[in-house]
């Protein structure tokens, strides 16, 4: 391996490690909030509102006296829930559609891809607002809306990479061994497109966290008293000139999570790139 390739691997490794550390911290915070938070995240304590950060309240309290640190920990839970389910929905349906499109070709492929274009034409946030306007605001509807927006992204990526894999001779060899087109798609093509999907999944995870924050900020996602970073931002707006830190802490949590996930995605892409992989 050449010196520059080694260097690239070194940098990729750093991004991967840093991204992993941030994502692990995010997961840790969410897990911890299930069993312990300094205060109940939804406990209103008006006499102690707008306290400065202290030993008793690490990040201070908000306009209703809720402990900000507890809310941030509990908010991580919502972010991860939304990310995992929305990306999961996108992966399951998107990959299935993309593989079927690539394997079937012809009219089926055209129909699936036109459907994806149609979904794409709707801005994700707009369709989420439409959905919550129809079925009422809430985390579940936000998840569904973000998940549906993910489906065409994964379908298009899967089809495009699957078509590259299908052009390779081993898929024809598998057909010559007696596999059907769908068997080849799921057993032989899917593992070969998985690296691209994993990278895209981490990036969509970050996008989902941002989308949930945006929806909750608009009052269409998590509803009080459920803790959510976007809802905290929205609450902080009223105290902008009195206690700007109330917007800073959830904002930092969102930015750090998204940055960590993107770094993880970048690092994974470099690590999974066969051009950089050492030959055995």
């Amino acid at each position: 391996m050449s010196a520059s390739a080694l260097e690239t691997r070194g940098r990729a490794g750093a991004s991967l490690r840093l991204g992993l550390a941030v994502v692990a911290a995010l997961l840790g915070a969410a897990a911890l909030s299930l069993v312990w938070t300094p205060y109940p995240p939804d406990a209103i304590d008006v006499p102690h509102k707008l306290l400065q950060p202290s030993f008793a309240h690490w990040l201070g309290t908000d306009g209703l006296g809720r402990d900000v640190a507890s809310e941030i920990l509990a908010g991580a839970r919502v972010s991860i829930l939304v990310g995992v389910i929305a990306v999961g929905v996108g992966l399951v349906f998107g990959v299935a559609l993309g593989l079927v499109a690539a394997a079937a070709k012809g009219l089926v492929e055209d129909a699936i891809m036109k459907l994806c274009d149609f979904t794409f034409a709707f801005p994700a946030l707009l369709s989420a607002i439409m959905l919550t306007a129809t079925y009422g605001p809430g985390v579940v509807n936000a998840i569904v809306a973000i998940g549906v927006a993910n489906v065409p992204i994964f379908a298009k990526l899967t089809r495009a990479t699957a078509n590259v894999v299908l052009a390779r001779e081993f898929t024809l060899a598998a057909r010559a061994a007696g596999r059907g087109p769908l068997g080849v798609a799921f057993d032989h093509v899917l593992p070969n497109v998985a690296p691209a999907l994993i990278v895209q999944a981490t990036i969509q995870f970050a996008v989902a966290i941002l989308a949930e924050a945006a929806l909750s900020y608009l009052g269409l996602g998590a509803q009080p008293p459920q803790a959510s970073w976007g809802r905290m931002l929205s609450d902080a707006q009223g105290w902008m000139y009195v206690a700007p830190r109330l917007a800073v802490f959830p904002g930092l949590a969102i930015a750090l999570s998204v940055l960590g996930l993107n770094m993880l995605g970048d690092g994974l892409r470099d690590a999974l790139d066969p051009r950089l992989r050492a030959r055995g």
Binding site: F170, L172, A177, G178, G180, H188, N192, R279
Partner: protein, 324 residues
């Protein structure tokens, strides 16, 4: 006859409409026999093979008849073809590098047809795959079965491909330039292996190659194709020693000769291979043949059998096999 092909024609879709890449090809192959198909790139060899397997690209239209073990392949549905492929009809590909799934262990890939066609359990199929790898004379088959394709040499990979093709004991194996990507010494070993395995299990071989020497050594009979048309066919000895078709002769003359003086140029066939055309009426070689007459371009080719099984398709050859 194990395999009978008559009047096979293949049209492939193209932006400019259907393109006929194989014209009126007929041949037959008995059980346990070996048949070589020679021709330059674009002569329709691979398309003919894929048509036999039923694996032509989407939109391809096949006409003519292919009978395999008495079955009319064109009448079989996709599900029936799938049952045939990898079981009684197997194929080996040109590039052992790309014909194996890089993410699956060799053992699993060799075992796949057994799981599909013999309903074997994974463990039993794996054990059988190790036996097959041993049968294609791979050293340390246990280790090879556990290895991924990247860890194997080209020759080892091609042996693994052969093991995979042999797994269900096919009646016919189609080898599409199986050794083109390999070194000459490895090439000979692989072809010898294929020939001896064929003899052991009475398996017929259809060997596609652009190398006349390979076909001469490993096949009993040979077909020469040009521009999707069958030019000359017959027993290897007869065709190579008493070639009648101007194309076959030109092909033979284009071979490098051992002992030729240094710096001597190889004899090439003048002109370039024509693009495949749907409207071809006469001989596809007419544009490059030194003996072309008007009749060559305007009249469909006759088939002349001037000695036992030695057939030639040329307007310039008479019933006794003399050039006119």
């Amino acid at each position: 006859m194990l395999l009978e092909v008559s009047g096979l024609a293949i049209d492939l879709p193209s932006p400019a409409g259907a393109r006929r890449v194989v014209h009126d090809v007929s041949f037959s192959l008995a059980a346990g026999e070996s048949l070589g198909v020679v021709g330059e790139s674009g002569s329709g060899k691979t398309m003919t093979a894929l048509a036999l397997m039923g694996l032509l690209p989407d939109g391809a239209v096949v006409s003519g008849a292919v009978r395999f073990e008495g079955l009319e392949l064109a009448r079989l549905g996709e599900a029936e073809m799938q049952r045939l492929r990898g079981d009684r009809l197997a194929m080996i590909f040109q590039e052992p590098m790309s014909a194996l799934n890089p993410l699956q262990r060799i053992g699993a890939q060799v075992a796949e047809p057994l799981v599909l066609h013999r309903a074997m359990a994974k463990a039993a199929a794996w054990a059988e795959a190790v036996r097959l790898l041993d049968r294609v004379r791979l050293r340390d088959p246990e280790r090879i079965a556990r290895a991924y394709p990247f860890a194997l040499s080209g020759g080892e990979r091609q042996r693994a491909m052969i093991a995979m093709a042999l797994s269900c004991g096919p009646k016919l194996i189609i080898a599409d330039e199986p050794t083109t990507a390999l070194d000459v010494t490895v090439q000979a070993k692989i072809l010898d292996l294929l020939a001896s395995l064929g003899e052991q299990s009475n398996m017929a071989t259809l060997l596609i190659s652009h190398d006349l020497a390979v076909v001469a050594r490993h096949c009993r009979s040979v077909l020469a194709m040009y521009g999707g048309t069958l030019m000359e066919s017959g027993p290897v000895d007869a065709v190579l020693r008493r070639a009648r078709h101007p194309y076959t002769r030109a092909l033979l003359e284009a071979r490098p000769r051992p002992g030729a003086p240094r710096g001597e140029r190889l004899r090439a066939i003048a002109g370039v291979a024509p693009p495949s055309a749907s409207a071809l009426v006469g001989c596809p070689f007419a544009g490059r043949c030194p003996l072309t007459l008007d009749v060559c371009r305007t009249t469909p080719l006759p088939t002349i059998e001037f000695e036992a099984e030695h057939r030639v398709r040329c307007h310039r050859v008479d019933a006794e096999g003399r050039l006119t």
